[in-house]
């Protein structure tokens, strides 16, 4: 099934965690104004894509080669980053990224509009604009250029109410060749612990036999005190089960995900963990896979200076290929 809202710029998660870190440093974003929030969104189940997000966030961001990244805040709203990757892979080189945070504050950790972009001299660029029009409606526009050609563009809109979230996404819509992808997703909180959602993906492309295809899938998430289980079923033959566990205030978070695909007739299970040693300013993430892949990433903040040191290792036992990476993020 096409993953429509994937391929977000890789530095997005770094930046939103930097937003949170900045948040804890100062009480609010400077030069912002509070926006009027009328609905109580505390029981909102989040968006459909985020049902498995907590488990996927435990996966280590492993890389190969050396990485150096410098981030500088030019003002309280604008941030610029230069990163150099020295690796024998295809993404070696220099990348320039810029980040703009707007003036509308909706909660302690969310400011809108957010404009993210990065570009590199090999002709690849990513850009994203996220804006919240009211406390219920949020839109996101994403564009990606690869090797000087437009590779994808997507517009998505979320509408949140007290217990439900509805998302509409349009991707790669090209009226001249009548091709495009439209996705409609809905997620509802049914009881205090149970969320159920459904998705309809419609793709129109002259190359598909019949001209168009529609795929549905269903998702559900059951929450317990320290854990949650999530299930994703698609009549097209894709089946995903996940389990996440974090005992309250424990530094260890565990996640297991099992994936089965009837069309490709293969299954795989992934076990991942994250261990935070806050006293040592270190985070360890590890992953173990039934395909014979083991990977781990260590991130350490070198305390008085704003440096983050990263070590990554990726062992592919099935192919006997071992890859290691070293990185330093400044700022």
């Amino acid at each position: 099934m096409a993953n429509v809202s994937g391929n977000a710029p890789s530095n997005e998660t770094n930046k939103s965690s930097k937003i949170d870190e900045q948040q804890s440093a100062q009480p609010a974003f400077p030069n912002t104004r509070w926006m009027n929030v009328t609905t109580d969104l505390s029981r909102n189940p989040g968006i459909f894509e985020d049902v498995f997000k907590k488990i996927k966030d435990l996966l280590p961001p492993s890389f190969e080669g050396a990485k150096l990244s410098v981030t500088k805040m030019l003002s309280s709203h604008f941030q610029v980053s230069h990163s150099m990757t020295l690796s024998s892979g295809s993404n070696s080189g220099y990348k320039f990224g810029a980040n703009y945070l707007g003036t509308q504050l909706y909660s302690q950790s969310e400011v809108f509009p957010v404009i993210l972009g990065d570009v590199d001299p090999n002709g690849n660029a990513n850009a994203q604009i996220i804006h919240q029009w009211s406390d219920k409606l949020r839109t996101r526009i994403l564009a990606q250029v690869q090797s000087f050609k437009m590779a994808g563009y997507q517009l998505s809109m979320d509408y949140r109410t007290q217990f439900t979230t509805t998302t509409v996404t349009l991707a790669n819509v090209d009226l001249f060749s009548s091709s495009g992808i439209a996705v409609l997703q809905h997620l509802t909180r049914v009881t205090k612990n149970l969320d159920i959602g459904a998705e309809l993906l419609y793709q129109s492309n002259p190359m598909i036999p019949g001209g168009h295809i529609g795929i549905t899938s269903f998702v559900s998430r059951y929450r317990g005190l320290d854990w949650f289980t999530a299930l994703k079923l698609s009549p097209a033959g894709v089946f995903n089960v996940g389990y996440f566990h974090q005992k309250s205030n424990s530094p260890l978070q565990l996640g297991v995900e099992f994936e089965a695909s009837l069309a490709a007739k293969e299954t795989s299970a992934t076990f991942s963990y994250q261990y935070d040693l806050t006293k040592a300013n270190t985070t360890f993430r590890g992953m173990l896979d039934t395909n014979g892949l083991v990977s781990a990433v260590i991130e350490k903040r070198l305390a008085p200076l704003p440096f983050t040191f990263m070590l990554s290792s990726s062992l592919n036992h099935a192919k006997s290929a071992y890859r290691f990476g070293i990185g330093l993020l400044i700022g």
């Binding site: 040693l277 006293k279 270190t282 083991v294 305390a303 062992l315 036992h317």
Partner: protein, 130 residues
């Protein structure tokens, strides 16, 4: 099987062979060699003492054991390597970091108790790089 006629000249006597062994027709020295089998072949032929089914069963068990132990050795090597290298990468750094943290805490504890007396040593401690 070769039978020799008495027309053969007197230097060789006719030999009638009733065993399955083959004797070259003109080689007459063989009657001195009563044993036509080597010692090893005789020992191997002892297997005919046992019935066919037992022989086959023992043969199967033997080859299964050999193959299983070869397989176990190979898989054992593979498993030992996989487990050791994965633990090196997943678990070992955490243990090292915890050990370093404990040693750093101990050092700062000692420094504080030397500097400010045992009271101050139990107050909040400072972390240091690495």
């Amino acid at each position: 099987m070769i039978q020799q006629q008495s027309i053969v000249p007197a230097t060789g006597s006719s030999v009638v062979v009733s065993s399955i062994e083959e004797i070259p027709a003109t080689d007459d020295d063989d009657d001195l060699f009563v044993e036509d089998e080597t010692t090893l072949e005789r020992i191997i032929a002892l297997k005919e003492m046992f019935p066919e089914t037992i022989r086959n069963t023992l043969g199967t068990i033997n080859s299964t054991l050999l193959n299983t132990s070869k397989l176990a050795y190979d898989k054992g090597r593979s498993a030992a390597w996989w487990i050791t290298s994965s633990m090196c990468v997943l678990v070992f750094p955490i243990l090292i970091q915890k050990e370093l943290l404990q040693i750093a805490e101990q050092i700062s504890h000692e420094q504080r108790s030397i500097l400010l007396g045992p009271q101050a040593a139990t107050s909040a401690l400072s972390g240091s790089a690495f």
